[in-house]
């Protein structure tokens, strides 16, 4: 379990993280979302004991990281921002070094290295110096060192940055495979990623917690949630006709697509389809919107910018 208790980090007069509290339990994959410079990485650095909080603390499985970072670190696998590694070492040397440092019994080092190499498909580059590898491979080496001791808690700062779509997919599958009995915290600004792997999302901006919800819960906050979009001939006439319906709160016409926003909880889609068949409109496309995470993200992190 991770318990962040009123974490604060100040650099002079600048507050990077401001009174952040949250708890993460086993089985949760927490996505840390926020604009660049929101304090995501700083928070992760404090959770792993790399930075000492200005005030507040974090407990890792009940161990205070500020008081006993060595014991706390044993429970954590950590991929720091940018996936740093020792470029002059080969993949094999580097992973063996981390495995030994993680206090894996020296007879088990080879086994753990082999397992991590297999999970991240690194066998082809095992004897190559890390600095000669592509960005995608470097990121995977970083992930391999994070999972090498099969930690209960994984903290991954932008795990898929620099990977191609196939590699992204593989890493996400790896995260999902491990998710069942572990705690995984990932930071990212790729929204489709949190939708794909996370079962909980925390949005921070300017160091403050702005939202803590499930992906579904967040999407439901979207003004597009349960809205109906359609492409139809004579859109303007249709729009004014549909605006009369009690289920429709408002109608918007954009790039030839008409979007109708619901007034109540449900019934909009049914009302619209009924109107379509009654009026014999020529509909080319029709869909029920679930909501748009990017729009929710913008409205939460930059409320003044949303119209």
């Amino acid at each position: 379990m991770i318990e962040a208790k009123s974490l604060c980090k100040r650099y002079g007069s600048f507050t990077a993280v401001n009174d952040l509290s949250f708890t993460v339990e086993a089985g949760q994959v927490l996505g840390f979302l926020g604009p660049n410079g929101a304090g995501k990485s700083t928070t992760m650095k404090m959770l792993t004991g790399f930075l000492t909080p200005t005030s507040g603390t974090a407990l890792i499985n009940g161990i205070d990281v500020t008081e006993n970072s060595v014991a706390a670190c044993k429970h954590i696998g950590y991929l720091p921002e940018g996936a740093p590694s020792y470029g002059e070492m080969t993949v094999q040397q580097f992973l063996a070094f981390v495995a030994r440092a993680r206090l894996i019994d020296s007879r088990e080092v080879a086994g753990h290295v082999a397992e991590a190499v297999e999970k991240l498909n690194l066998s082809a580059v095992l004897q190559q110096p890390i600095e000669t590898l592509s960005k995608g491979f470097k990121r995977r080496v970083g992930l391999a060192q994070a999972i090498i001791h099969d930690p209960q808690i994984l903290i991954l700062d932008e795990p898929t940055d620099g990977l191609d779509p196939n590699q992204k997919h593989e890493v996400r599958r790896l995260i999902q495979d491990m998710a069942r009995d572990k705690i995984i915290v990932i930071s990212t600004h790729i929204l489709e990623e949190v939708e794909a792997v996370c079962n909980r999302i925390i949005i921070i901006s300017d160091g403050k917690l702005l939202a803590d919800d499930t992906p579904h819960g967040l999407i439901a906050r979207s003004r597009y949630h349960n809205a109906v979009s359609m492409v139809v001939a004579g859109a303007e006439k249709v729009a004014s006709a549909l605006s009369e319906l009690p289920e429709v709160a408002s109608a918007e016409l954009r790039d030839g697509e008409l979007t109708l926003f619901p007034a109540g909880e449900s019934g909009l889609f049914e009302a619209v389809t009924a109107a379509i068949s009654a009026n014999q409109w020529e509909v080319l496309a029709l869909r029920l919107e679930v909501g748009r995470l990017d729009e929710v993200f913008r409205s939460i992190t930059r409320p003044e910018a949303t119209r």
Partner: protein, 249 residues
């Protein structure tokens, strides 16, 4: 628990040494060190012309050689980790900061030891030419290695202050220079006349040169050994403090 801590430092040390030899750093350094000791000993030290079978001209220039070569080794110890971000990886492994500092220092110190071992052809030569007092020579090697340790500890601490290796190098040279010269009139004159005698003695007692000279005469005084051990201990402790303070910064 203690054994566990030592394992951590040894693991770091192994990694560091692998790192040295995976890059040209180690080879360039060793070659330059050997060439420079040769030049100093034979030309400036008049090894042959003196007509004595000893290694005094060899050891005499070590402090000056170390002044520039040791900070060149130590400058990258922490600055490089900070620049590349690996420091975050290193300090979030289940190791204490003491383990990390000790492991890095030991690797660099062993490496300097290797450089010294590679100068043994000098020792063989002098034994071929005459019959030197090998005890004095051994003491010279010990003193030289301890002094290298002192320089390294200073350099390591300076390296932890910055992410810029050039800055680390210059800071290292300056502080090493002060320690080297602290017994010489040039420094002492700054304090003479106003500082009490106790402080003057204290400053004079800090000189690397004096303690090194004492040991390399073949008189291994416990005080000289303790001096170097204390210097190393002090600067490594400062190194740990710098890292801890930077965490909270």
């Amino acid at each position: 628990m203690k054994g566990v801590g030592l394992n951590g430092a040894i693991n770091i040390m192994r990694r560091e040494l692998t790192g040295y030899f995976a890059t040209p750093v180690a080879y360039v350094f060793l070659v330059i060190f050997l060439v420079m000791t040769g030049i100093f000993t034979f030309y400036l030290g008049s090894f042959y012309e003196r007509g004595f079978a000893d290694l005094e001209p060899f050891f005499r220039f070590h402090p000056w050689l170390y002044l520039f070569l040791v900070p060149a080794i130590s400058m990258r110890l922490w600055a490089e980790e900070r620049r590349s971000g690996t420091i975050e990886l290193l300090l979030t492994l289940p190791l204490t900061t003491v383990d990390a500092v000790l492991g890095k220092f030991l690797a660099a110190w062993l490496f300097m030891g290797l450089a010294l071992v590679l100068t043994t052809p000098m020792w063989v030569t002098v034994n071929y030419l005459g019959s030197p007092d090998n005890g004095v020579i051994l003491a010279g090697y010990l003193g030289s290695w301890l002094m290298a340790g002192g320089f390294l500890a200073i350099g390591s601490c300076m390296s932890a202050l910055t992410r810029n290796q050039v800055v680390a190098f210059i800071l290292g040279v300056v502080i090493c220079f002060l320690f080297l010269l602290s017994g010489l009139p040039m420094v002492m004159n700054l304090f003479k006349g106003w500082a009490p005698q106790v402080i003057l003695d204290g400053i004079a007692g800090l000189s690397f040169l004096k303690h090194f000279a004492d040991i390399s005469k073949g008189v291994i005084d416990l005080r000289d050994l303790v001096y170097f051990v204390l210097v190393i201990g002090f600067w490594l402790f400062a190194n740990v403090l710098v890292l801890e303070i930077k965490k909270a910064e």
